[in-house]
Every structure is written in structure tokens, then in C-alpha cells.
Subunit: 545 residues, 2 copies
């Protein structure tokens, strides 16, 4: 009897599952389910209006994913549930929600459904910026040594700022939440009945450290006396290492998914981190870029170093025995979508052809530097190296001859420079990047963009061989949890995939991009540090609204 | 028998005439004719490709204007040619062309029609930037005192750089040109058979001064030994004061236009300067903004002062007895057109409604500062205060929520800040601006823009009462040339027009715009002086192409 593992990857807009044959690595079936409530950034399902920078989700959508995609792949592949020996899941992070003792989300309860803070805060919920800034300020004043692990700043996207925002804006929800949990842990709770707090998201997003634990009570008290005892009460202090088995499918989950009770479930992972083994990265010096609406950069090192603007470093956070470093860009695919939705003239469109495709075709004909344009990729703030959600986009060089395809190309280039500044910052701080890999929808489809990335970074780029990289990674963790392989390295030898063809830098393009990159870097720090005009304009905007 | 005067205004894309009743000021008829060859910026009529930044025109189009619009207004008004006692014309400037001794444009000759430099260089031809920079450098080194009259820099749009470009790039045309003439003077030549060189364009665009004359031979020799004796040979040294009669309609012109031989023709004017009397400005302290594809700002002062970035100051250049100061913005209406052509999504468009109107309606609903955006209006370089055609556009503050109408509004605001920095610079340098007037298509039609201008400048703005302000001004000069009024001041009392309703600043808007203007100013000088990234990117662009 053939054996299989299932990986389920929860993204920003949908959940997708893959069923993997554990002897051949063949992906026997896949399935996608889009969240019915999408991202709620203007109003709740009840019509309640949302303030600026909110980005919420409905946890019911995640259960709908499980009840659709798992039966769907079993049906498509015509295998028996018994043949599935493990399940792994991964989620965008930090995506978090308040729940009761039994795991029930507060937004499921009638009395809270009108209260925005009872819902899931998606990773890109940016309304806790004030709290993040206060945390950074207090931590710096108190000399908290964990601050440097996160590049000197924690982000408004993370766990503690989001919780503090709930306390500041809706104490009722804060008081009635028995736990605040990462969505990935919440899914594992639903599947197994066991509450876990996985090391990966705890380490990268909740300021947990293998040796030092969480920040101490004194720190939390300094934030707000009501938060003094939050660790061990509203935040689970029991951290489960990555790669372990979290538990087994229980009766509720068996009914929801059609899997057998007792099937092994791996500890919940984060979408980016889970992808490294899927492309075969199981040791240090190899960076993976997961390129989608945003980009996450992960590389393992042999020791813990300080790197400005890294989002975090977690021991055993990706593969046991290594220090997993994370960095990120908060606006990549979103960037191009914004442009296409808001700034492309009617006569560029053609029935039945994607406007992205039309623009890429036109942009492909341009040479590097030919447009005279330069942009800073801050449309959704800056995660690494600056860690500042209040930054905004900048473009210059426009003339009356500037064409949409030139702007489209420069938005791509901006994200490539953003990646280069991250790579350079790692290397300048003692974490070598010897190989570069890319995964995610855009990396797999967009040849123009990947060539620009190779030219800007002056590095060969290898592309993931699976169209469902994180889901494949999750399935690998599921297979290890189910005991089919001795460890992740063994599993990766059989199941990981990269494409045969890679992108290689073109010397004459590299030369031009190096010059423009110097300009990018100057403006990056000018608007990031020296002239806070973007933040002052955001202040005016908030005052006026 | 009623008496009339005709004014013909030559713009960037068309020529338009107005017939004015000299007793009532009523505009009895108007007519427009669009240049068949438009602006030639990619190729000549012969298919010959044009280099970057060229903007040429065909002088045949100007004769077509005369032969269409004058007969048209005579026919429409059903008056006799005898009733027309004077004609005035005005032109965009510096718009210039090489001609033979008899006034024949070199591009009319078969042997030159393939050579770009034989055609008219429109004001916005920016390909003589190299020459302008060299002129500024040499003039500074030689301590030429005229340099400060032009704000310390002369522009690539002007007469001498354009001539020097011809010499540098096509010596055949240079050698075979008997004269280089302003288009306004060329039209007068066609109408009267007399070559004139009007004080207004000579003073503002050709470095002529009432007391000091042109730069001396030593200077021209320093540019190029072949130019040493250019004054008095290829450039007429005989300057005619504004407001004089240039001559009378000759046989050729009578046949072309249907006017009577002997009708008085005023000295050729410049479109912006001719407009001041049309709104009743005949003394100092009142600034007129002529707002179209670009904006020209003119104000008269009682003495000659140095003002950074002013385009020029000419004694008697507008009205006798005053010093006419000019400043300018090279990208205003062009700015909005670029945006609408290149950056507006299909779903914003609606059959039969101008997209400008749709965007203005949406933009009108926004409050100042609400978008968080800020732009520098450098899409077509910067004329005043920086005098640098190599600058390019900049916009910042974009987020993933930014909408087209927000961008549209911020492009308007950018041009308003550009105007404010010009006004402030005049006042800081001793030229008071007590009243503000606006004319031109945009000023007359766009309420949103004019209110933004009132709010940004914190001044009341009076709007020209004629839809054909420069043409009306030209007709006024024609009437004075024809002897119907004692002088321009008398004439203005009868014929000048402003609207009854003006735009007044709204206090709460003023407050917000003052804050944003401070940000604009910082970035204006940062990109204008401190960080030359725009120019380096333009350099790369030129290398790559």
C-alpha cells in the first residue's frame, strides 16, 4: 500500500492542500479554497466600519478550507484515508486571534461579532504601529537584550503589539480572551484537540528565545500593568520544537476532513519557513525568497549574529542545529496589483489577456536604466532593513514620455533592490549567502522578474520545483511526524524539488543595476531615516480623516 | 462705422484669433486652427527619426493658421476688412527657426527637409540642455553680469542655446541660415515684409538688455569662435520696443488673410506677456499666471532686482515704465494629460464624459492632506526657481490604498506648490505680489484647481474675463498700433476683463497646505540641488538608449 502525506498551506487569500507520494515525491493531487470573507479592511460582515490599517479575517474560513481541500484531494487521487500517514500545516504569520479556553474564537460568539478586535488579525494588519513603537521605545530604555535579535525593532505585524492594541482599544475582548494564539497553532488545536505553541512562530513573532524564554514580567508590566502576568496565562509558555508531532486527528477533525482519527499531525509551521526543506535547503548559507504578495527571506546560519532589520533569528527555528534568520519585504506582488488596478489606461487592456502579461511583455523589451525611473518599494511600509510600517512608496524620474510598462518594470526593480539591500546587510554582518533560491507564485511564473532579480543581486537564482512549495514543505513535516523518515534531511533527499533551469545574471545588466542600486540605497536611508516626510504626511492624513 | 482689432495667439498646438469691438470690448468672433503637424517629437514628416528631447514644429502650419482664422472671423462677424484698424499677434516663446535673408524658413527648401535643425524649435524643445549648461558655466567663469538678470541660469528653452545646438549638430543649417528668428517676429515679417526683433522676446529669451545690449563678442567667441560675430549678422541687433507699430499688411499678407493692405500691425508679442493688459494689469505688484500646458508667471516691479530662478527681467518688456519679471513652470496641464493617458484604469472611464472631469469630481471630494501624497512637479524639468530641464518628476506617500483621483489631486497640488515657491521667492527678493490673477484654459475651467491654488498660496485669485486672453491682449496692441487709443493704459480701461467671481482661500485648507508646503520645499531643494539622482538617472537613460 502506497503511503502519502498531506500539507495544507494557509495564505493571505486562500488555503491550498497537496497530497504527496512519500516514495516518489509525486504530488498526487492539489486543491485550493478561497476564503469567503477575504481580507476585511473596510468593514466587518456585520457592516461595522473598520479604522485605517486594519486587516482582519474570519476563522470560519479556515475551517471551510479544511473541510473542502482535504476531502477534495482524497477524492481526486482516489486513495483511502488510511494511506495518509501524516498531516502538516503552515500559515502566514503573525496571524493571530483571541480564543476561549476551549479554542473557540471570540468572533464566533454573538455578543462579540460586532467588535473588530474579536476577529483574526492578518499578518498585514498594520494598526498596531503605535504599540510597536512604544514597545521598541520601552525595550530600548530598559536595555532589553532580545531587541537586537529582531534587528533593533519589532514590527507592528507581530504578536505582542497586536495583543496590546486589543487591550488599548477593546478591553472587553482582552479580558474575555483566555488565550491569544497564532492561527497556525489554532488550526493544530482544531485538528488534534491539543493546544500547542510552535517554536517557529513563538520565536519569530512572539519574542520567545530557546535559552532566555519570553521577555520578563517587569517588561510586560512596563507596557501595561494589566499585562504583567500575560505569559503562562493569556500566552502559552509551553513551546513545542519544530518537526515534532503535535498530536493526532481527533473525532471533530476526522468528521471535518474525512481523515482517519489517529493520523499524525505535525506542529504548526509558518508558510515561509516550511518552504526551505521543500527546495532542499537543510543547512546554512542558502537563502530562500518566498515571493508572493510580500516576500520573506530565510537563511540559516551557524551562529547567532546581529543583523540590522532582520525580522528575527531563532535557534532550531527552521532545521534543528541551525539558527534560522528571517527578513522580509512587505510589498511585492501587492505592488504590481495596486498598479494594475489603479494606474493602467484602458487602451492597454485586451479582452482575455491578463494585463500583467501585457505589461510584462512590454516591460521585457526595455533595457535596465532605459526608463530613467527609480522607486522605493515602501507602498506597504518596510519590513527589512528599516522595520517601519509608516513608510510609504516613492517614485521619481517621471517625464511626460513615461509609459505604464516603464512604471511596471521599475516597481519590479524596486523590489529587487529591496532584496539586494537585505542580502548585503546579512553578508556585511557575518551571515554569508552562498546560494539563492526562490519560491512562490511570482517566482515560478514571472521570468522577467526573476531575471531582474538575478541581474540586480548578481547571483544565480534556483526556482522551487513544486507549484505548492509551502504545502509540500508542510507535507514533509507531516511525513516526519508520521515516522516515515528518520529526519527532515532524509525526507528532503526524497521529496524536495528545484527546477532544472535557473536564472543567471547578465553581465551588462548587472553593471547598470549596480549604479542604480547605489541611488536606491541613498534614497532608502534618506527617506527611511533622515527625512521623515512620509511619516509626517501619514500623520496629517490621519488628522484629516 | 464700428472699428475692430484682431489678435492672433499662437499656442503649442493651435492658433486662435479674436475680433474685438473697440468701443465695447465685445469679442465679436473667434476662430481656432490646429497645427496639422502638431508637435514633432519622434519623427519629421519625412520619417526621419528625432533624438530624445526634440520638440519641433512646421512653420507652414502658422501660415495655415493665418489663412484660416482671419477670413473665418471676418466671415462669422460679417464685418468688412476696412473696419479692422489693427492686428496684433503673440506666440509661445522661445519658439525659433532658421531662415534665409528673405524670411524663407530653411525647412521649406527641399535640400534641408530631412534635417531636423531646419525646422522650428518649439519652446519645449529640451535638447539644448548641454549647450545651456555650457553657456551658464562659461558666463559664470567670465563673470558676465547679465547672468543674474536671468536668475543665475539661462534655460535650454532659450534662443542662444538652441542656436548653439544647431551649430554643434548641423553646421550646414547653421551656415546657411541668414537669420535665426523668433516665431513671433517671423509672423510679423510675413504680415508686413519687415524684419523686426521685438524687445519682449529679445529681452526674455535672447539675453538682450535695454542699456547693455547683447552679451559681447568675447563671450560669443568663448562659446565657439564661429559665433563671435553672430550679433548683427545671424541675430538682428535692431530691437523694436513693445507697443510700437511694426508695419502694415502687405500684398502677400492681404492675399493670405483677406485684410486690407496698409492695416496696422503691432510688434510681435509673447503669449504670456501680452495677457497682462487683457486682465487690466498695467502697473506693478500684480502677478498674472497663465495656466495651460505650462504656466508662466509675470509681474511688474518698479526697479530691477535679482530674484533666484526668475526667467528674466526686461525694462518696458510688458508695459512701458515698468520692469517686467517672468518666471515659469514647465509642466502643468501636460502633467494631468500625462496621467490621464498613461495611468488611469479602464473602470474609471465613462462613455461621453471627459476623464479629466471624472477625476476632478472624485478629487474634489478629498480633503487637503487626506491622500498622504506629495509630488514634485518636475515631469518636464523645472523652469523657476531651479532652472533645470534635467530634473524629473517625483511622487511619494503611495500605499496599496492609493487611488487615481488622489494622484490626480496631488499632481494639481504639486503645481500649486510650484507656484507658491515662485511667489515666495519674488517677495523674499523685494518684488511684492499684492494681487494674483489667472488666465488660460485651465484657470478658466478648473474650479478645483483654482481653489487649491487659492488655498496653497493663501491669496485671492481673480480670473481673466476673456476665454481668449492672449488673443485679446494682442488685439489691444493691434488697436494701439492702429492709433485708436492714446496708449495701452487707456486701451485697458475699455477692453480689459476679469470675472465678477474670484477664488478665496479657505482658512482650514490653508493651514494644512502650509504644513505640506514645508515638506515640498525641503524635497524641492533636496532633489533640485543636494542629491542629483534625477540627473544621474537621465545620464544612464541616455547611455542605454
Amino acid at each position: 500500500m502506497k503511503r502519502y502525506s498531506i500539507g495544507v498551506d494557509f495564505g493571505s487569500l486562500s488555503g491550498r492542500a497537496v497530497l504527496v507520494d512519500l516514495d516518489t515525491g509525486i504530488e498526487a493531487a492539489t486543491s485550493v479554497f478561497e476564503y469567503p470573507h477575504k481580507i476585511m479592511d473596510t468593514e466587518l460582515p456585520t457592516g461595522e466600519k473598520l479604522p485605517l490599517d486594519f486587516a482582519l479575517q474570519h476563522p470560519r474560513d479556515y475551517l471551510d478550507v479544511l473541510s473542502y481541500v482535504i476531502p477534495d484531494i482524497l477524492r481526486k487521487s482516489q486513495i483511502q484515508a488510511e494511506q495518509v500517514i501524516g498531516v502538516g500545516i503552515d500559515f502566514t504569520s503573525c496571524t493571530m486571534l483571541p480564543v476561549l479556553k476551549d479554542g473557540t474564537p471570540l468572533c464566533f460568539l454573538g455578543q462579540y461579532k460586532n467588535r473588530p478586535h474579536s476577529y483574526v488579525k492578518l499578518w498585514k494588519h498594520h494598526a498596531a504601529q503605535k504599540e510597536a513603537e512604544k514597545i521598541n521605545e520601552i525595550a530600548e530604555k530598559m536595555g532589553e537584550k532580545w531587541l537586537s535579535r529582531y534587528g533593533g525593532k519589532i514590527s507592528s505585524e507581530w504578536f505582542i503589539p497586536k495583543i496590546w492594541q486589543i487591550l488599548n482599544e477593546d478591553e472587553v475582548i482582552y479580558n474575555n480572551a483566555d488565550r491569544f494564539v497564532e492561527a497556525t497553532d489554532w488550526i493544530i488545536w482544531q485538528l488534534t484537540g491539543r493546544e500547542t505553541h510552535a517554536a517557529c512562530s513563538a520565536g519569530y513573532k512572539a519574542i520567545w528565545h530557546k535559552k532566555d524564554g519570553y521577555p520578563n514580567k517587569k517588561f510586560f508590566k512596563a507596557l501595561d500593568t494589566r499585562m504583567e502576568n500575560i505569559i503562562g496565562t493569556k500566552i502559552s509558555a509551553e513551546i513545542i520544537p519544530m518537526g515534532e508531532k503535535a498530536g493526532e486527528i481527533n473525532q471533530f477533525a476526522a468528521e471535518l476532513t474525512g481523515l482517519k482519527e489517529g493520523t499524525a499531525v505535525a506542529v504548526g509551521n509558518v508558510d515561509a519557513h516550511v518552504a526551505l526543506p521543500a527546495v532542499g535547503i537543510v543547512d546554512s548559507g542558502k537563502m530562500l525568497m518566498i515571493i508572493g504578495t510580500s516576500t520573506c527571506h530565510i537563511v540559516m546560519g551557524d551562529e547567532e549574529r546581529e543583523v540590522p532589520g532582520k525580522c528575527g533569528v531563532v535557534e532550531d527555528g527552521v532545521v534543528k542545529g541551525y539558527f534560522g534568520y528571517e527578513a522580509g519585504q512587505s510589498c511585492v506582488g501587492d505592488h504590481f496589483d495596486w498598479f494594475v488596478k489603479n494606474c493602467v489606461p484602458a487602451d492597454y487592456r485586451s479582452e482575455g489577456i491578463s494585463i500583467h502579461k501585457i505589461l510584462r511583455e512590454k516591460a521585457k523589451k526595455l533595457k535596465p536604466g532605459e526608463s530613467g525611473l527609480l522607486a522605493l518599494d515602501f507602498w506597504n511600509g518596510n519590513r527589512s532593513v528599516l522595520v517601519d510600517a509608516n513608510l510609504s512608496g516613492m517614485m521619481l524620474g517621471m517625464t511626460l514620455q513615461t509609459k505604464p510598462e516603464e512604471i511596471y518594470r521599475v516597481l519590479i526593480e524596486a523590489t529587487a533592490y529591496g532584496t539586494k539591500i537585505i542580502i548585503d546587510t546579512f553578508e556585511e554582518n557575518g551571515i554569508p549567502i552562498n546560494e539563492l533560491y526562490a519560491a512562490g507564485g511570482i517566482a515560478e511564473k514571472d521570468e522577467l522578474m526573476m531575471q531582474i532579480y538575478a541581474d540586480v543581486t548578481n547571483r544565480e537564482i534556483k526556482i522551487s520545483g513544486s507549484p505548492q512549495t509551502p504545502a509540500l514543505g508542510s507535507a514533509m513535516f507531516g511525513a516526519v511526524a508520521g515516522g516515515y523518515f528518520a529526519d527532515l534531511a532524509q525526507c528532503a533527499k526524497v521529496l524536495s524539488k528545484v527546477r532544472d533551469v535557473s536564472y543567471k545574471p547578465i553581465a551588462e545588466n548587472v553593471k547598470i543595476y549596480q549604479k542604480i542600486y547605489e541611488e536606491y540605497k541613498t534614497l532608502y536611508y534618506y527617506f527611511g531615516k533622515e527625512n521623515n516626510v512620509m511619516k509626517r504626511l501619514k500623520g496629517i492624513k490621519e488628522d484629516v480623516r
